[in-house]
């Protein structure tokens, strides 16, 4: 039988505040074990938590950026469970009055994935299991998280992936999290159920915990979908359970069944007071939001004429988009700046982390000045490209590499003379070309470009060379 996937995601995003949610300990990643701790975050008796205002602010921004309503009144609750990663035996979270609710993320296929709620909570400590013992590091305990809960609106693994990618992009744009999956600052629990195509009722779902890479999330979902489909095909039932994905064996394994489901005994956190958010604050934050990737994408495509694929690459990282916008400002055709960034600069920032940081030696203004030389007819495209490489190597402006006399290109007579010289100096290449080796023309062209010190227009020169070589036959 053919089935349709029904999936919803719970995404945990670590907020990039300086301090933990209820104490002044640092949130820095990677410190030595148990060195970012105090009596509050290790839950010693007699301590009182105090909420970090930045956590509330960041959660509001996350909510506004994902089209949520912001609650004027919300509160914190205790979620009780007993495990060594929680020193207090409860996690301070939000239960029935989350800070944000009823939002959505729009996908590229036009579908909207509903966001049920976004709430704030504290992260747990890290456990290392060794030789049957458990070693506990509470540095991460108390680091602020937002949990973004989606509606079960996701219908394919691609949609799940795009949803998480969009969340990641948005959270990075608004600067509330670095969303590094490999460091655990973005992780997802994925709910999965299948139903016969055309059916309205949901099937029994399972939940895969703690996916912290796109690759594993895709693989785990593929595995789980085919496992459930096989069960249903055999007329068996899917058991409602919580699963963990075993990377090495590419399979899921049960962590606990429905009957073992925790009863968290939520109740209001008596040590923390009500969170009130005024309309004035919501309006102020709304006005402060930067242009988000979707809006940028639409503007680049519709107003700047950037092809969709390129626009997608430019908006993916906020710093790249900002660099592009500075470099194209006042230039005749935004595509030139786009091509310089995608075709040349991207070759120097290969991985995702480097693109995210986009820390390149060349100020965007220098690139703009170079493009303005092209706009003014002072240089040709090929000279622009070769000069840009030199500028990127040394971080210096165009005028350091192009002399005044090189600007202005060359006239047709000079170009014709250069071509004549090239033909005379390279009889072998001419013979090869006439013999059918089209590539031989490249060495003639190279000769012309070199002797023109890059001023010649490569397209014109090539046309002229073909014409002259063919005529010499």
């Amino acid at each position: 039988m053919k089935y349709e996937l029904v999936s919803g995601l719970e995404t945990h995003v670590e907020l990039s505040t300086n301090t933990k949610i209820f104490c002044g300990c640092t949130t820095d990643f990677g410190g030595e074990q148990n060195t970012h701790c105090c009596p509050i975050c290790i839950g010693l008796p007699g301590t009182l938590p105090k909420l970090n205002e930045k956590v509330v602010d960041y959660a509001i921004m996350a909510g506004l950026a994902t089209n949520c309503e912001i609650s004027h009144i919300s509160k914190m609750d205790r979620k009780n469970y007993c495990y060594p990663d929680l020193p207090k035996a409860y996690q301070i979270s939000q239960f029935d009055m989350p800070l944000c609710k009823n939002g959505y993320i729009a996908l590229s296929n036009g579908r909207k994935i509903g966001i049920t709620r976004i709430h704030i909570e504290e992260d747990a400590g890290k456990l290392v299991h060794q030789r049957g013992n458990t070693y506990v590091d509470y540095n991460r305990g108390g680091v602020p998280l937002i949990e973004i809960v989606s509606e079960p609106d996701i219908r394919s693994i691609d949609e799940a992936r795009e949803y998480v990618e969009k969340l990641q992009m948005i959270m990075r744009y608004i600067g509330v999290s670095d969303c590094k999956m490999q460091e655990g600052s973005l992780r997802c629990d994925v709910n999965i159920s299948l139903r016969p195509i055309g059916s309205v009722e949901f099937g029994t779902r399972t939940e895969i915990k703690n996916m912290n890479s796109f690759t594993y999330m895709t693989k785990a979902m593929e595995y789980e979908v085919s496992r459930q489909a096989e069960l249903l095909d055999e007329g068996k039932e899917v058991t409602q359970e919580t699963l963990r994905y075993i990377v090495e064996e590419n399979r899921t394994e049960s962590m606990r069944g429905k009957e073992d489901a925790n009863d968290y005994r939520y109740f209001r956190e008596p040590d923390l007071v009500t969170i009130e958010v005024s309309q004035e604050k919501i309006d102020r934050f709304k006005a402060m939001l930067p242009e988000l990737p979707d809006a940028k994408f639409t503007r680049y495509v519709n107003e700047l004429g950037i092809p969709e694929a390129d626009a997608g690459l430019l908006v993916k990282y906020r710093r790249v988009a900002e660099y592009f916008e500075k470099a194209m400002e006042g230039t005749a055709n935004p595509k030139v700046a786009a091509n310089c960034i995608i075709g040349q600069i991207f070759r120097r920032v290969e991985n995702e982390t480097e693109k995210e940081a986009f820390d390149i030696a060349l100020p965007a203004e220098y690139l703009r000045d170079l493009i303005l030389l092209l706009d003014g007819g002072k240089i040709k495209m090929n000279l622009l490209k070769s000069t840009l490489e030199k500028m990127l190597d040394q971080g210096k402006p165009a005028t350091d590499f192009i002399k005044e006399e090189d600007m202005g290109g060359i006239d047709t007579d000079t170009l014709r003379q250069l071509c004549t010289d090239a033909i005379a100096a390279n009889p072998n290449a001419v013979a090869d070309y006439l013999g059918g080796k089209e590539k031989a023309l490249k060495s003639l062209l190279g000769f012309v470009m070199k002797n023109s010190r890059g001023r010649a227009d490569a397209v014109e020169a090539e046309k002229l060379l073909i014409e002259m070589v063919s005529a010499s036959k």
């Binding site: 505040t17 300086n18 301090t19 104490c23 002044g24 300990c25 640092t26 030595e32 074990q33 148990n34 060195t35 970012h36 701790c37 105090c38 009596p39 290790i42 010693l44 105090k50 909420l51 970090n52 205002e53 930045k54 509330v56 509160k75 007993c82 060594p84 290392v128 030789r131 049957g132 013992n133 458990t134 070693y135 506990v136 590091d137 509470y138 925790n262 009863d263 209001r268 923390l272 007071v273 009500t274 969170i275 009130e276």
Partner: protein
């Protein structure tokens, strides 16, 4: 009414072991405890927002880093520790 199954489930969630012969007595006790607590529900009162009797809101702190405690200090009260970690020993 609290059932024997309820008590077993609670015991399981709290990781307690209960002997079969204790079960009836515990079920009765638990039922009494709940009945006792329910007298509170019967009380009449004006104030409805018991969740927020302090009527306070937005007691917040600035996002400024304060020094953490030394690891020695943090681990001082731990029952067992190893290499700077809290150690939860294997149950034997």
């Amino acid at each position: 009414m609290v059932t024997r199954e309820d008590v077993l489930q609670m015991a399981r969630l709290s990781k307690l072991y209960i002997k079969e012969e204790e079960l009836d007595a515990l079920t009765r006790d638990m039922d009494n405890i709940i009945a006792f607590a329910e007298t509170i529900s019967a009380a009449q009162c004006e104030q409805t927002d018991f969740d927020n009797i302090s009527n306070l809101s937005n007691v917040l702190r600035e996002d400024v880093v304060l020094p953490s405690y030394s690891r020695e200090e943090i681990l001082k009260n731990a029952e067992s520790q190893d290499e700077g970690y809290f150690l939860v020993k294997k149950r034997s």
